[in-house]
Assembly symmetry: C2
Homo-oligomer: 205 residues x 2
């Protein structure tokens, strides 16, 4: 069994969306060993690093993270290699792939790197691609950038998935993973009324 760790380290130096400083996580030491034990508190924007978006992130009546069946965050996964796609991934890109996608967690490997700073020109999933995946009734979707879309002011890609109850994983590091079939685990914290959650994500071969 080989385990691929897909999550970047959570630290004040990590890349955050649009490099906004208020989105940087912070670990504060609250107690030390001299006082009994090393203890700390984490302040984290829930869409930091590897994370998952709940439908409520973009839909007022969408499910919040603690209400979603755990089955959605684990199971058979397919990594699709789109490292040659420029700008965005559209329906056309998927038509060239031969994998069975229904009820799978579909992970999009692009040329996005797990960079130290945010890349404003990241490869994203265009709405026709999102519609295609939703029509295939996939279980969940994931990508290796900190967002699954840009340049779509109405957030169509997010909304297509949200309306279909499909969780969106963002901030996955897929650089060491090849196209193919795996098992995925990326369970969210059970945050009451959460619009998402940071996660530790793995692929298992």
């Amino acid at each position: 069994m080989k385990i691929y760790d897909l999550s970047p380290e959570i630290s004040e130096d990590m890349a955050v969306y649009k490099n906004k400083s208020d989105k940087k996580p912070k670990l504060t030491v609250t107690r030390t060993l001299k006082e009994g034990a090393n203890e700390s508190k984490l302040d984290i924007y829930v869409h930091t690093g590897s994370h998952v978006d709940a439908p409520y992130h973009v839909l007022e009546n969408g499910k919040t993270i603690e209400k979603i069946s755990l089955d959605k965050f684990m199971g058979k996964a397919v990594v699709l290699d789109f490292t040659k796609a420029e700008g965005s991934i559209t329906k056309k890109n998927f038509l060239k792939k031969i994998f069975f996608l229904t009820n799978h967690i579909v992970l999009l490997k692009t040329k996005n790197k797990n960079e130290k700073t945010f890349n404003f020109e990241f490869t994203y999933l265009e709405k026709s691609g999102a519609e295609y995946l939703a029509s295939k009734r996939i279980k969940a979707v994931g990508i290796d950038s900190l967002g699954i879309e840009r340049n779509q002011p109405a957030h169509e890609t997010h909304k297509i998935f949200a309306r279909n109850g499909i969780p969106i994983f963002e901030g996955l590091n897929l650089s060491k993973v090849k196209q193919g079939r795996y098992f995925f685990y990326g369970l969210p914290l059970k945050i009451k009324k959460g619009d998402g959650s940071p996660i530790r994500a793995v692929l298992i071969l």
Copy 2:
């Protein structure tokens, strides 16, 4: 495949260690749908609810959470029923059990309930029990209270596991799980220099 969710909801109302108000988590809304998306920030003491302790929690030179092999947080698990144990679980309690424990994640089901307030008299694992489990070279240990020990001022139970590189899961809800064999997943967030991490934990049958 049956999935048992072992994690209580993370909210300001949840039970925290010794009921200390500074250990309550807080979810702050940072943006709403009218501004583009529902977004929030979570402030959480890392030993809240279902969580895992890294050796660094009690040992200055112990590993921090992001350095521990992911294999330690997933795999074959055994739930042992100690609901009849009073006060503490000792080596003697384990000698009556027939399960093979080496390289397993061993979860201790006690009469601790997933109460809304902290129970100061929770059933704990006494040091002779910790020594026994370490001698069996278990992979990890877990319990259904917010701590694995009390009444041991030198924290011997924590230290025995820490010295042996055995992660400690605390705050698991085992009330719906019977004694037996399962698969466990409880991956920590990859917190740089973390002494522990909140987790979403599951058992799979």
